[in-house]
C-alpha cells in the first residue's frame, strides 16, 4: 500500500504519543522509587529532570526489602504460593483433559458439561463457603489452602483449554501406542504431556500471572500475617497504614512487578499463543 510522507509522519507521531501515554506513569513511579522521602512529598518526580534531584539512592529498596516491612519474606511467600498454584492445577487438569479426550467412561458427557458450566462461576461465590470449610478443618492460613483454592479457581479453564488441545492430537499416535502395549498412564506421561508442551506452557504463564498478581484469594485464605502474606496483600497493607510513606510503596511496587514482567517479556510468544487459544479467565 502506498502512503505519502505526511501520512507516515502522522502515523509515527501518533504511535509515539500512545507509547508515551502508556509508559510515562510507570517511568514516573520508577523515578520516584529512587527519591528520598522529603523531596518526594514536596515536588513532582518530573522535576528530577530539571535539576531538582534531591538524594537519589537505593535506600527505599533496601528499607522495604530488608527493613521492618520485610518484603523479602513476602517475595518468598509469593513464590511458595505461586509455583505450586501453577503446577498443581495444570497437572490435575492435564489428567482430566486426557481422560475426556481419549478414554471412555460412564458419565463422561455430564462431567465435561459440568466443567464448561463452572467456567462462569466468579470466585466471589466460593469465598465464604470455602473459608468456612477451611476453618472447620483448621486449614486456613496455610500454603496448601491457597494452592488448592487457586487450583480450584483455575481448573475449569485449564481442563477446557487442555482438552481442546489434546483432543486434536493425531488419533494414529494414540492407537499405535496402545498397540505397542502402552498403558494409559504411560501414554499420558511419555507421549501426550510432551506433545502438549505448547498448551501447557501457555496456560502456565497465565496461571502464573493470575496467582502472582492475585489479591482476593491470598487475602482470604492466607491472611495478612507477615509470616505468610504475599506481596499484593503486603502492598495493600502499606497503602492503608502508611499513607505518608509513599516512598516505600514505590519501591515495593517494583519489587512485586519485577518477576512477572521478566517472565512476560521472555515468554511473550507463548503468552500470545495462549491468548489466541482463549486463555482468559471467566
Amino acid at each position: 500500500m502506498k502512503t505519502s510522507r505526511s501520512t507516515t509522519i502522522l502515523i509515527n507521531g501518533t504511535v509515539i504519543f500512545l507509547i508515551a501515554i502508556w509508559t510515562i506513569p510507570t517511568i514516573g513511579l520508577f523515578v520516584t522509587s529512587f527519591r528520598d522521602k522529603g523531596s518526594m512529598a514536596t515536588s513532582g518526580w518530573w522535576t528530577v529532570f530539571t535539576g531538582n534531584t534531591g538524594t537519589l539512592s537505593l535506600d527505599n529498596y533496601t528499607t522495604v526489602i530488608f527493613g521492618g516491612d520485610g518484603l523479602a519474606t513476602a517475595f518468598l511467600n509469593t513464590l511458595a504460593v505461586t509455583i505450586p498454584s501453577v503446577a498443581i492445577p495444570i497437572l490435575i487438569a492435564a489428567f482430566a483433559a486426557y481422560a475426556f479426550a481419549w478414554m471412555d467412561f460412564p458419565g463422561k458427557r455430564l462431567f465435561f458439561i459440568t466443567v464448561v458450566a463452572l467456567l462462569v462461576v466468579p470466585l466471589q461465590i466460593s469465598l465464604i463457603p470455602v473459608l468456612k470449610a477451611y476453618l472447620a478443618i483448621d486449614l486456613n492460613g496455610t500454603f496448601l489452602a491457597v494452592w488448592l483454592a487457586h487450583a480450584g479457581f483455575g481448573l475449569a479453564l485449564a481442563t477446557y483449554l487442555l482438552y481442546n488441545y489434546m483432543s486434536q492430537l493425531p488419533k494414529e499416535v494414540m492407537e499405535s501406542a496402545a498397540i505397542d502395549g502402552a498403558s494409559h498412564f504411560t501414554t499420558f506421561t511419555r507421549l501426550v504431556l510432551p506433545l502438549s508442551t505448547p498448551a501447557l506452557a501457555s496456560f502456565a504463564i497465565f496461571q502464573f500471572l493470575w496467582t502472582w498478581n492475585d489479591l482476593l484469594t491470598a487475602q482470604t485464605f492466607l491472611g495478612t500475617d507477615p509470616n505468610v502474606a504475599v506481596l499484593t496483600s503486603r502492598l495493600i497493607g502499606l497503602i492503608g497504614s502508611r499513607g505518608t510513606e509513599w516512598h516505600l510503596l514505590t519501591a515495593g511496587a517494583f519489587v512485586s512487578m519485577i518477576l512477572p514482567v521478566v517472565i512476560f517479556l521472555s515468554l511473550q510468544r507463548y503468552f500470545v499463543r495462549g491468548l489466541l487459544a482463549g486463555s482468559v479467565k471467566g
Binding site: 502512503t3 507516515t8 509515527n12 504511535v15 509515539i16 500512545l18 507509547i19 502508556w22 509508559t23 506513569p25 510507570t26 514516573g28 513511579l29 512529598a41 513532582g44 518526580w45 511467600n77 511458595a80 509455583i83 505450586p84 503446577a87 498443581i88 497437572l91 490435575i92 487438569a93 489428567f95 475426556f100 478414554m103 467412561f105 459440568t114 463452572l118 462462569v120 462461576v121 466468579p122 466471589q124 461465590i125 466460593s126 469465598l127 465464604i128 470455602v130 496455610t142 496448601l144 488448592l148 487450583a151 480450584g152 479457581f153 481448573l155 475449569a156 499420558f188 498478581n213 489479591l215 482476593l216 499484593t232 497503602i239 514505590t250 514482567v261 517479556l265 491468548l275 482468559v280 471467566g282
Partner: protein, 371 residues
Amino acid sequence: MTGTTIAAAEEPRGLLAVLATGVVRLVVSLVVPVVAFIVLYAGFTFLRDTDAPKIVIVLVAIVWGIGGVAMIYWVANWTVERMPMAWKGRVLPFVFVGPAMAILAFYLLIPTVITTINSFKDASSVEWVGLDNFIFAFTNSDMIIAIRNNIIWLVVGTTLSTGFGLAIAILADRSKLDRLAKTLIFLPMAISFVGAGIIWRFVFSYQPEGQPQIGLLNGVLGGFGIGPVSWLTGEPLNTILLILILVWGQTGYAMVILGAALKGVSDDLLEAGRIDGATEWQVFRRIIIPSIWPTVVTVATTIAILTLKIFDVVYAMTGGAFKTDVIATLQFKQMFGAFDYGRGSALAIILLLAVTPVIWYNLRQFRSRTI
C-alpha cells in the same frame, strides 16, 4: 499383569496357596498407598510446625506440594494396575478425572449451591428471609450507585479498551515502531492491579492549591497555569479515571488479538476493494470490520466479563470511597466487613447472573471464531 498371575494359571494349587498369594498381593497393594499417605502427612506436619529458615520452608513446600500431587496419581495408577483386568478399565478413567472433579465440586459446585441457599437467609445464615437480600440489593442507595458504576465500567471500559486496541493494532502495523509499541502497550498485562493502582496514584495525586503537586495530571495542569483538581473525590469522574487504569491494562490484550485477526483479512479482498476505488475509510468500514467482527465481539465480551467482576482496581485505589463502589467491592464489604453472609451471598449471585450470559456468548463466539 504380574508373573504371579501367570504362574497361578499354569499350575493348579491348593486353596490355601491361592489365598496366600491373594493376601500378599492385597497387602502389597495397600502398603504402597499407606506409605505414600504417611510421607505426605509428614510433609504437612513439618510445614505446619517448623521453625526452619524461610527459604527452606518455601523449597520444601514447593517440592511437597507438586511432588505430592504427582505421587497421588502415580500411586493411584499403581494400585489400579494391580487390579483384575475387568476392574482396571472401569476404574482407571476415574483416577484420571476424579481429582479434577472432586476439586471442582469442592471449590465451585458446592459453594455455588451453598451461596444460593445463603442468599435467601439472614446475615448469619440461620433464618429464611425470602427475597429480602435481593430487594436490598436493588433498593439500597449504595447498591444502586454500585450497579450504576458497574454499568459505566461495562460500557466505557469495554469500548475504550477494544477501540484503542483496534486503533493501535492498525496504526502500529504501518509504523516502524511496530514491535516496540506493541511490547510497551502489552506490558501492563503483566502488572497486578495493586501495582497498577500504585503507579496511577502518582498520576492522580492531589494537593490543595498553592502546595507543590506531586501528581502528574495536576503537574501538567499547573504548567498551563490551571489550578489543581481533586481527581478521585468527585463522582462520576473518579469512576471514569479508575476505568482508565483498566483500559491501560487491557488495551494490550485487545491489540494482540485484533492484530492477529487483522493479519487474517484476505489481501485479495483488500486489493479488490482498492482497485474498485474505495477510500481507505471505506475499506476499513466495509471490508476490514466485517471480516474481523467475530473477533471484536470475543475481545469485547472478554473485557466486559472483567469489568462486571472488577474488584482490585477499586479496592486498591479508593476502597470504594467517594461513590466509586462496584458490586464486587460491596460484596466484599458485606462478607468481610459487615459479616452479612445473606447480603454478601445475594451480591455474589447477582455477579454470577450478570456474567453468565456474557460468558456463554463469549464461549460460543470463540468456538465459531477463525483467526
